[in-house]
């Protein structure tokens, strides 16, 4: 009876007071139990194992069926070729040999590469800039934060729709505004030379808010003492930024960079929704994942698509490995 009430009394308390109460009770109980501990340990261990396996079972089973086994299956499929209506046969390394000569695939790598090259650095730079500005003593922070976050909570399908419309060569707002200052706007999403960059702009636009929030929280984690010390030393804002803010923010920057990189690597939604299938801009904007989707579900070339997926896997694994090495070298921890 007494024990039960002590247990429940823990819950009527909140916060730090719990911690104060416990040591007393635990000590008392432990003293009482000390004699019985050896016997309990065996049944306790068994009950531990039982509960442990039970609790991890759903997730582990689910991961096994839907994620782990599929990895092996995809690797297997990459060695097969598919016919109509789901029949497939083993063809060994054919798909991989085909990849070497596939101009479309090579181009999609270039496209994805350009996409990453522009989206990640520019996006991070702008996010840090906005985060730093928002971290200053100004009014209306939460209003700004909300506005910058709007694109993040909007579904990519809707974003693609409205930007496609803004970009429309003949009737879109962008080209109209340009015409007001005498420039004939290009075909933003139909010209193979610039379509990719048009998409990059949208990607940056929709991703800033997310990183701003992460950086902001990172910035707020930097102890004020550093800034105060710098002020005493008479350092200007630029120096402060480069010598204090940036280094202390580096774990967060590193994390965001890797996440953005991996995310950018798998771009699909925007390209799928913004570039028309009859447009010649398609070849110059297709990402690797777009090509995967195309082969898997449009051309019904599932074996080849699986090979592309395996290629993606290998690349990401290499990047992750590089990341782990770099983390040790470049990131400053307190």
């Amino acid at each position: 009876m007494k024990r039960r009430s002590s247990f429940f009394s823990l819950f009527s308390l909140k916060g730090g007071s719990i911690v104060k109460e416990i040591p007393l009770q635990v000590e008392v109980n432990a003293k009482r139990r000390k004699l019985k501990v050896p016997n309990l340990s065996k049944t306790r261990k068994r009950s531990d194992f039982f509960w442990a396996y039970l609790m991890i079972a759903p997730t582990m089973l689910g991961l096994l069926v839907f994620y782990l086994w599929p990895i092996l299956q995809t690797i297997y499929f990459s060695f097969t070729e598919w016919g109509a209506f789901g029949q497939y046969e083993w063809t060994g390394l054919d798909n991989y040999k085909r990849m070497v000569d596939d101009a479309n695939l090579l181009q999609s790598f270039k496209n994805t590469g350009i996409y990453i090259l522009f989206t990640v650095p520019i996006g991070i730079f702008l996010s840090i800039l906005v985060a730093v500005l928002l971290n200053q003593k100004i009014k209306g922070k939460s209003v700004y934060r909300t506005l910058y976050f709007l694109p993040v909570i909007t579904m990519p399908a809707a974003i693609a729709m409205v930007w496609r419309w803004l970009y429309n060569s003949d009737y879109g707002l962008l080209n109209y505004l340009l015409s007001l200052i005498g420039i004939k706007g290009p075909q933003w999403v139909s010209d193979p030379k610039i379509a990719l960059y048009s998409i990059i702009v949208v990607a940056i636009w929709s991703g800033i808010g997310y990183n701003v929030v992460i950086f902001l929280s990172g910035l707020q984690g930097i102890p004020k003492t550093y800034y105060e010390a710098a002020e005493i030393d008479g350092a200007g804002p630029i120096k402060v930024f480069f010598k204090i803010t940036l280094p202390l923010l580096s774990p967060v920057i590193f994390f965001v960079t890797i996440m953005s990189f991996i995310g950018a690597f798998q771009v699909f939604d925007l390209i799928f929704m913004m570039i028309g299938k009859g447009s010649t801009a398609l070849e110059k904007t297709q990402s690797i994942v777009y090509l995967f989707y195309q082969h898997a579900f449009v051309l019904n070339d599932k074996g080849y698509a699986a090979a592309i997926a395996v290629l993606l896997l290998i690349i990401i694994l290499i990047i992750t490995a590089i990341q782990m090495v770099l983390q040790k070298k470049w990131v400053h921890y307190d």
């Binding site: 997730t59 582990m60 994620y67 939460s142 429309n168 994942v289 599932k302 698509a305």
Partner: protein, 277 residues
């Protein structure tokens, strides 16, 4: 004194200017989306563009509902999102607790195995997951979208971090009082891990609501489509009638917008936490 105050105001002004320019860029597309949704087709392709439509064509919104089962899309997306989020929160926290707090043989190995999933790009799972759905006849059903999303290595990892950061004394007390692990999990750990749960919940909700590729692959009949997929099919069916497309897009983002307005703080905190860990 005067000089510093002047500097401060001009610095603040500069900051505001930059931020406002950015904010306008963020919001302008949405305003344009809304304005376009109220124009007639002729108005929308008029050169020079009509900024504010003469009459507000609320019929465009009605048109969206007649063209596609939009209510069904919203309902489907709602069901999928709620089930996935609730399911993930429950299953991941369950496993996370076990990994964090219980010593059992194979704990580290199993956890590493689960983690390995995080390193694999999503496309590697797609084809086999799709074939599973085909084989068990779950194409064009909501469960095809929900079920794979119930199991998350990321969620398990995130929550495990959380549990590991909680003081052990509480559990000790509960154990000594004769609670089994499930009760400890249920009554002690879960309430304390609220910030982590909220973070994961927000993250999963956002992702479920906006996901395109997987729902598109498994659901091609309009009754079982989610909003993202429905919106993309609207583009195919109604070709390029932008006012209607804009109306559809606007409708699609309104629910999440409202949710965001209400739970702003939690959203922002949640993202910050997932980013921080």
């Amino acid at each position: 004194m005067e000089k510093t105050r002047q500097l401060v105001t001009s610095k603040t002004l500069l900051i505001h200017i930059i931020l406002i320019v950015g904010a306008v860029a963020m919001v302008l597309p949405f305003i344009w989306m809304f304005l376009t949704s109220l124009k007639t087709y002729a108005e929308s392709i008029h050169v020079p563009p009509v900024i504010i439509p003469k009459d507000f064509q609320w019929e465009n919104y009605k048109e969206v509902f007649t063209l596609l089962p939009f209510f069904k899309f919203m309902l489907n997306t709602l069901i999928v999102t709620v089930l996935r989020t609730a399911g993930q929160l429950f299953l991941c926290s369950l496993a996370a607790y076990a990994f964090a707090r219980i010593e059992f043989p194979g704990r580290n190995v199993l956890f590493l195995v689960a983690l390995s999933v995080l390193m694999v790009p999503g496309q590697v799972f797609l084809l086999p997951q799709y074939m599973i759905m085909v084989k068990i006849g779950w194409l064009n059903t909501l469960q095809a979208v929900v079920v794979p999303g119930l199991f998350s290595a990321f969620g398990t990892f995130l929550l495990r971090q959380f549990f590991m950061g909680l003081p052990k004394e509480l559990e000790e007390a509960a154990r000594l009082d004769g609670c089994n692990h499930f009760q400890i999990y249920w009554r002690v750990m879960l309430p304390l891990a609220k910030p982590g749960l909220v973070a994961l919940g927000i993250f999963t909700t956002l992702w479920s609501w906006n996901e395109l590729m997987w729902p598109m692959i498994v659901n091609s009949s309009p009754e079982s489509m989610t909003l993202s997929v429905g919106l993309s099919s609207l583009q195919g069916q109604y070709l390029t009638n932008y006012p209607v497309l804009m109306a559809g897009s606007f409708l699609a983002i309104v629910p999440m917008l409202i949710l965001f307005m209400i739970l702003q703080k939690q959203f922002i905190e949640g993202i910050a936490i997932t980013g921080g860990k």
